[in-house]
């Protein structure tokens, strides 16, 4: 093969293109897989919470931003989780409504999606009071307490940002509900910040107590 000027140019262009797309895809992957701010949920059910913890079984609380597109995946996973839980859990989805927004600002398609999940109660959390009680910082944060109010699990139930599909968080919760055992009790949360702490959804890199093991 003769290396003519045109061929060399084409080769250079292809290399540059591959590099650019490689970098772009790499950044996308990094973005998708970077979790939100990690927070340590209270080990005991917060007594101040207005939510009523189930006395018969576990109680699940999902804190969500009503406009976070990433949370759509979390609600999808919650739906699957509820189906797999087979009534063994009482679930709340709390939509945080910051101060100053119009009435029903929180009533988005996410609200409707959450309402549509059987066994899930949807609650508005004005100014994030409840979110604060559960120490949630990222939309999609799930906490699971047993009937005695002990924390069983805290973290996200998506494998990546806004990415539906099998994930460690859902698998752990389902396992806890059915067997009282879980491979892990913390996972990273992928979603928008519930509070104005940064410009992006991901506001911190620290992942709470997620264990890097099976």
């Amino acid at each position: 093969m003769k290396f003519t000027k045109a061929r060399i140019l084409l080769l250079v262009v292809c290399v540059l293109w591959l590099s650019a797309t490689g970098v772009g895809v790499g950044l996308l992957w990094d973005y998708e897989n970077t979790p939100g701010t990690a927070s340590a949920a209270p080990a005991q059910w917060p007594e101040a919470s207005r939510l009523r913890r189930s006395a018969d079984g576990a109680t699940l609380v999902l804190l969500a931003h009503p406009h976070c597109p990433c949370t759509r995946a979390s609600l999808g996973e919650l739906s699957r989780l509820m189906a797999q839980a087979e009534g063994r859990v009482t679930a709340y989805v709390l939509f945080v409504k910051p101060r100053g927004f119009a009435v029903e600002w929180e009533k988005t398609d996410l609200w409707s999606s959450a309402e549509a999940i059987p066994g899930v109660r949807v609650v508005r959390d004005d100014e994030g009071v409840e979110a604060g009680r559960f120490r949630a910082a990222t939309s999609g944060q799930v906490t699971l307490y047993d009937r005695e109010g002990r924390l069983l699990f805290s973290g996200g139930i998506t494998s990546a940002r806004g990415h539906e599909g099998d994930n460690a968080g859902r698998a752990a919760i389902v396992s806890l509900l059915h067997t009282d055992e879980a491979g892990l009790d913390e996972t990273p949360v992928f979603g928008c910040p519930l509070f104005a702490q940064s410009d992006e959804c991901q506001t911190g890199k620290e992942v709470g107590h997620a264990r890097d093991e099976h």
Partner: protein, 640 residues
């Protein structure tokens, strides 16, 4: 490829052509698919942006919002991924590099779309759809980068973010192969489909090549056959034309033969009559001449006798012409230059044709020689010029030309009795009234004339014809009514040197002699006349009426016999035979032949043998006296 043609060269040519067709078809498919992908890339890019705007237009942080990263990813990363394949598909369609870039970009686009749609399982079908679409290229190699991209995607994400792919944080290091396996699973079917498709394409190319070859062969066969038919047709046309020409030539030859036979028959008749006539005329002319010698000048009978003599001479002239026409006259040919003949006769010709007619001569300076009787050639010129004069009653031109000419085989083949070779041409052209075809057909016949009664004998052209033919030549005529006539006489050219023409002076005085002459003549009238003339001139005469008697005289006569004057054509023994028999008896005796026409006794084809003395009948007493004296003197000169 099916081998329909057993010729290795043709089979190889068909195979090469099939390869060309296959490549052409493949290129067309590559280009077409490139264009389809260019469009698809654009659509996917736009679809990615739309999806990003619909699904995740904004990202939120509490009460704050801003454009979601997915939107920028859809616009910019999608744009970058789509840009190069679109550009290459437009600028370099059909190139392998374009296909590989497209394959890579398509799989990257699958990855982007999956991310933009939140990793929905449905979007993953884009990967398999893209593979299927890439198989449109019918190029297995295109599947390689596509498969590598998918496998690499899963492998790398499995290594760095396993939960994003497998939903768990820790997986087997070979887990990525499960995903890649499904892709390879599809690749297997695509491989089979592509192989079959390529095989069908090759079959089509091979069949097309064979059909082209057959068509080409058929076309060349048709062209070849058409050319053969055209050649055959041309050959046939040529043959028909040649046959037509041959038939025409044959008809002309038959006509010439018929004419020649007719002339021959007429000639024989004329010759036969002339023989007897000459004997009679000899008697008439000699008797009248002798009578005139004896009559006094004032004798009233003198005019009558002169009238008889004149009539005899005119009759002799007619007989000579008849003999000339019938080619029975005796020629005494000499090597001569026709230019000399023309010059010699010029004065006389001018006198003959009169003042109203211009006589022009165009003579070839380097004219070849001919062997002919100069007297006869004079006759030819005179006859032609007189004829020309009669064709121009109100004046005109007569042009006499001479030239050297070569008659080739082709010309000779088309003209009966003409032999190829060098000839000397004598042309006499007039600007007279010309002749129609009918006249031309009969003009050489004796006694055929278009002149008024009494103005022409009808023997002029016949004489010309006879002289020329007897001289080994040919005569051709070209005439146009109202424009004139051209006679062309061709005489065979000879390389011998021309002799000086001698003017035949009139012999007024009869030479005398005392020698003994043996006269042999079967015709009594002629014998008596000759006897008398010889006696008058002082000779001793022994007379015999036939050959046997003459031989007896030779044996019995005691004195010398100096000359034998003998007729040629005699019953029982010809003059030539007599001379041969007499030679042993009288070796010193000279022989002078006399005859009215020729036969093979002393002449061959009318030409007198070399050294033979001859006197033509009818003769005058004076002529006979001169000939006898000349023959005797020649013998003396020879013996000296």
């Amino acid at each position: 490829m099916r081998e329909m043609n057993t010729d290795p060269k043709t089979a190889e040519a068909i195979r090469r052509r099939a390869e060309e067709l296959f490549t052409e078809h493949q290129q067309a498919i590559f280009k077409r698919t490139d264009r389809m992908f260019a469009v698809l890339m654009g659509i996917q890019w736009v679809a990615g942006i739309v999806a990003a705007l619909l699904i995740s237009p904004k990202t939120w942080a509490g009460p704050n919002s801003q454009t979601h990263t997915h939107v920028w990813v859809a616009i910019f990363l999608g744009g970058i991924v789509s840009a190069l394949p679109i550009a290459l598909a437009v600028t370099r369609p059909g190139h392998a590099s374009t296909r590989y870039v497209i394959a890579t970009a398509q799989m990257l686009m699958s990855s982007i779309l999956i991310h933009l749609t939140g990793g929905r399982i449905e979007t993953h079908f884009h990967v398999f759809g893209s593979l299927a679409f890439l198989s449109f290229y019918r190029d297995l190699r295109v599947l390689i980068p596509a498969t590598v991209i998918v496998a690499a995607d899963h492998f790398l994400r499995g290594v760095f973010w396993p939960q994003s792919v497998y939903g768990v944080f820790a997986v087997s290091s070979w887990r990525w192969l499960e995903h890649a396996g499904w892709v390879l699973f599809e690749d297997t079917f695509l491989y089979i489909a592509i192989k079959r498709s390529a095989s069908e394409m090759w079959d089509i190319a091979a069949r097309t090549s064979e059909i082209e070859s057959l068509n080409e062969g058929l076309e060349s066969h048709v062209v070849e056959r058409t050319n053969q038919l055209a050649a055959t047709s041309q050959e046939l046309e040529k043959e028909v034309a040649e046959r037509s020409l041959t038939q025409e030539a044959l008809r002309a030859s038959e006509e010439q033969l018929r004419q020649a036979q007719k002339m021959e028959a007429v000639g024989k008749l004329a010759g036969g009559v002339a023989h007897d006539f000459n004997n009679l005329l000899t008697a008439i002319i000699c008797n009248s001449d002798l009578t005139l010698r004896r009559l006094e000048h004032e004798d009233p009978l003198r005019r009558n006798v002169e009238g008889i003599k004149s009539a005899g001479e005119r009759a002799a002239s007619l007989t000579r012409q008849l003999l000339a026409f019938s080619r029975k006259q005796v020629l005494q040919p000499k090597v001569l230059n026709l230019n000399d003949v023309v010059v010699e006769t010029n004065k006389m010709l001018r006198r003959l044709i009169g003042e109203d007619i211009d006589l022009l001569t165009v003579l070839e300076p380097s004219l070849g020689q001919v062997k002919a009787d100069p007297g006869q050639i004079d006759q030819v010129l005179i006859n032609l010029c007189v004829n020309a004069r009669d064709a121009m009653p109100t004046g005109g031109k007569i042009i006499i030309e001479t030239a050297n000419i070569y008659i080739d085989e082709e010309y000779a083949r088309r003209h009966l009795s003409v032999r190829p070779g060098w000839y000397v041409m004598l042309v006499v052209t007039d600007t007279g009234c010309g002749m129609d075809a009918q006249t031309q057909e009969r003009m050489f016949e004796p006694f055929f004339t278009t002149k008024e009664v009494g103005k022409g004998t009808g023997l002029g052209l016949s004489t010309v014809y006879g002289i020329v033919k007897q001289s080994g030549g040919n005569v051709w005529v070209y005439s146009e009514m109202g424009r004139g006539t051209t006679f062309k006489i061709y005489l065979p050219r000879t390389d011998q040197v021309a002799e000086q023409l001698q003017v035949d002076n009139a012999h007024d005085e009869s030479p005398m002699g005392t020698e003994t002459v043996l006269l042999v003549e079967d015709e009594e009238m002629v014998r008596r006349m000759a006897h008398e003339i010889l006696l008058m001139n002082g000779y001793q005469v022994l007379e015999s009426s036939h050959g046997a008697e003459a031989l007896d005289k030779c044996r019995q006569h005691e004195g010398p016999i100096h000359l034998m004057l003998t007729d040629v054509v005699m019953p029982q023994m010809s003059g030539r035979e007599l001379a041969e028999h007499a030679a042993p008896l009288r070796p010193e005796m000279r022989v002078l032949y006399m005859s009215g026409y020729t036969d093979d006794a002393i002449v061959h084809h009318g030409v007198l043998d070399e050294g033979v003395a001859f006197i033509e009948k009818p003769f005058t007493p004076n002529t006979l006296a001169h000939k006898v004296r000349a023959a005797l003197d020649a013998g003396v000169a020879a013996s000296n």
